[in-house]
């Protein structure tokens, strides 16, 4: 009972937030509605017993992707009024694309009704043991059985990082980085001079 209620709550809010994402006039509001849709989708995943994917949705989509969107929308000076100007002119094309997508869904459902594609049977190496939450099961696989590949992927990311620095880093003229040893090695007698200028002559530096 409570599960059904929660499902309808999350599902309804997901659809509502999704609709408002495309209906909002202000792009920043659109992104905020998108974040709400992600949160509710995460709730649906929890109901399904897929806590890991729920976490992933919140951390990756909300935490990184949506914030990135928000940055892009706020920092780029995009004239959305201009983007929307061609709406009426492109309306037939948009409808046509929507119809194609609808037809694909209908055909897909029909094909499934005729009997789906026969996929291979999983070899069971990734099955979740009954006495474990799926986060723990994924962790066991990632840091146990597949540790070797996990480490290799770490080196892969390091290479990407080093590569980006190698290709973009260059020595620039005119920058004055701090040099701590030089600062420490400097003595007062090197930095100051004691002069006694003659009257009316001024100081030469």
């Amino acid at each position: 009972m409570i599960t059904a209620l929660a499902f309808y709550l999350f599902a309804g809010l997901t659809i509502l937030a999704g609709a408002l994402t495309i209906l909002a006039r202000n792009p920043v509001h659109s992104v905020l509605w998108l974040i709400m849709a992600f949160f509710n989708a995460a709730g649906l995943m929890v109901l399904l017993g897929a806590e890991f994917i729920a976490m992933l949705l919140v951390i990756v989509y909300v935490g990184a992707v949506a914030v990135l969107f928000l940055f892009v929308v706020m920092m780029l000076n995009i004239d959305f009024a201009e983007l929307r100007a061609g709406f009426v002119r492109n309306f037939p094309l948009g409808i046509a694309v929507a119809l194609v997508l609808l037809a694909e869904i209908v055909i897909g459902l029909g094909a499934v009704g005729q009997g789906g594609i026969v996929l291979g049977t999983a070899d069971g190496s990734a099955a979740v043991p009954a006495d474990m939450s799926n986060i723990k099961a994924i962790g066991m696989l990632l840091y146990g059985k597949y540790l070797f590949l996990f480490e290799a992927a770490g080196i892969l990311l390091l290479v990407a990082l080093v590569g980006a620095v190698v290709l973009t880093h260059r020595k620039r003229a005119g920058v004055r980085p701090q040099s701590v040893p030089r600062q420490n090695a400097r003595r007062p007698q090197d930095a100051t001079v004691n002069v006694k200028p003659e009257v009316g002559k001024g100081v030469s530096l």
Binding site: F148, A152, A153, V162
Partner: protein, 488 residues
């Protein structure tokens, strides 16, 4: 799973990754050209050490269960060892010629040998892969390092263009490969080659066939087989020449060994499904590689087409789908690597008075009178690539054709042999330009000792003297190929 045993089996890879990380730290502080040279020599030493660790595996012919590490994710068998030795040799040679080249083009940086080490690590994972996951991680590790290496000369527009082109097309190919892998996984239910073989031996579903086709398309890009070869001439021409030396040798070995593993280990029971694809790619590569090279004016582009052509001959061996065919391919690879390195080292040695690289074929005119030793070295490379009898390159072609004929692919072998005749035309044209044309008198600059030695060693290897090695090389290749077929 016994971790100690696994760590022992993967010791060369651990040596590579740890020394890569240490040298990376060293290069963060050592910014001068002198430090870069030191890091370079250390990297060469590391490669030599890794080769010494790998060699016993090949000689003892270790394979099957005894070679599996990390719960079957990694296989340090004799086949992988054979490919790794070639990779280490090729990468080491490319590192040896790099400092002299980059110092003339605005400074050598220590990141170069580090990236090469990581690329080599990726290639080791590729040739040792026993499942699609290791395959992909290794391939990407190699590719990401390679994209950066291609664009390493930031000030040079051609190098940046080569890097960008390689990156965009390489990412597309990786996507195609990944798509094929996910289809294969979906329709077989497993990522391990042995598991895929167990499922497909009972019958290949349509979906798995699609997966196989897409995977072969992605791999064909990585080995630059026709019709996925378009990037090769542009990238080989634009990339700095030591990097081109590296591209044409080490990753080719790794990607071809990987292709062998996927086709034989994962789809070995469904030979008919991929034999046609590989046979077509082989013939198309031979013909396009031979015809495309004829009109080239730049020696690096010519060598790029020649590498496409050579890949075609090696795929003829794979199309045979027999232990002899794979052994023939490995022999061909072992001859191809010194041939390619010799060719590119000779190109690196062509400098004018002020030390600039010469790349136009017209600059080679009359090289025999100005620099007779380079002309001799490059000439023997060309003779060997053309497959003129008694040069070592001939033996490679011979064993490949022999395997194809033994597998009943007589038409394939015949057309391939005809293709090699077309190829001989442009190889011999280079020899003619060097020996019989009026001297252009451009290539007068001098090169350093390392180049001389590398060219001398590779020229000796591919000269008729190389025939002394046929027995040993053939035996090693047979051991390596035998390990692969013992499992299936």
């Amino acid at each position: 799973m016994d971790w100690m045993q696994s760590l022992r089996l993967a010791a060369p890879e651990e040596l590579l990754s740890i020394s890569g990380l240490v040298l990376l730290l060293a290069s963060a502080w050592g910014q001068t050209a002198k430090d870069a040279r030191a890091v370079n020599w250390l990297a060469v030493l590391v490669l030599a050490g890794a080769a010494a660790m790998v060699a016993p595996t090949l000689c003892q012919g270790i394979g099957g269960e005894a070679a599996l590490a990390f719960g079957g994710l990694f296989s340090a068998d004799a086949f992988a060892a054979f490919a790794k030795l070639l990779i280490f040799a090729a990468a080491g040679a490319s590192l040896l010629v790099a400092p002299a080249f980059f110092e003339r083009h605005g400074g050598y940086r220590a990141e170069f040998p580090v990236l090469v080490l990581f690329a080599v690590l990726g290639m080791c994972l590729m040739v040792s892969s026993t499942n699609l996951l290791t395959l992909y991680v290794g391939l990407e590790l190699n590719s990401l390092a390679a994209y950066v290496l291609a664009a390493f000369l930031k000030a040079d527009e051609r190098s940046a263009e080569a890097g960008l082109k390689y990156f965009v097309l390489g990412a597309l190919a990786s996507g195609i490969l990944l798509f094929g892998m996910s289809l294969t996984y979906g329709f077989t239910g497993t990522v391990s080659y042995a598991g895929i073989a167990a499922v497909t031996n009972a019958g290949l579903s349509k979906g798995a066939l699609f997966g196989l086709t897409f995977m072969l398309a992605g791999l064909a890009f990585k080995i630059s087989a026709v019709p996925f070869h378009m990037w090769t001439p542009d990238v080989y021409e634009g990339a700095p020449t030591p990097v081109t030396t590296f591209f044409a040798s080490a990753p080719k070995v790794a990607a071809l060994a990987l292709t062998i593993r996927v086709t034989i280990e994962a789809f070995g029971g469904q030979t008919a499904a991929w034999q046609q694809i590989v046979g077509f790619a082989a013939l198309a590569s031979i013909v396009v590689g031979a015809l495309g090279a004829i009109g080239q004016k730049n020696i690096k582009r010519l060598l790029a087409y020649s590498s496409i052509n050579n890949v075609g001959f090696m795929l003829v061996g794979l199309a045979a789908a027999s232990s002899e065919g794979v052994a023939a391919m490995l022999v061909y690879l072992a001859i191809y690597v010194p041939m390619t390195i010799g060719g590119f080292v000779a190109v690196l040695m062509l400098r004018d008075e002020s030390g600039h690289q010469l790349e136009a074929i017209s600059d080679l005119a009359g090289l025999s009178s100005t620099r007779p030793l380079i002309a001799l070295g490059l000439g023997s490379v060309m003779f060997s690539m053309a497959g003129i009898p008694f040069f070592f390159g001939f033996w490679g072609k011979f064993v490949v054709f022999q395997a194809a004929v033994a597998a009943g692919l007589l038409p394939l072998a015949l057309i391939a042999a005809l293709g090699s005749v077309i190829g001989a035309f442009y190889y011999l044209k280079i020899v003619k330009v060097m020996y019989f044309d009026e001297p252009a008198g451009k290539a007068t600059g001098h090169s350093d000792m390392v180049h001389d030695w590398l060219l001398a060693v590779s020229a000796l290897f591919i000269s008729p003297l190389g025939w002394l090695l046929t027995k040993g090389l053939g035996a090693l290749a047979a051991i390596a190929a035998g390990v692969l077929f013992a499992a299936t």
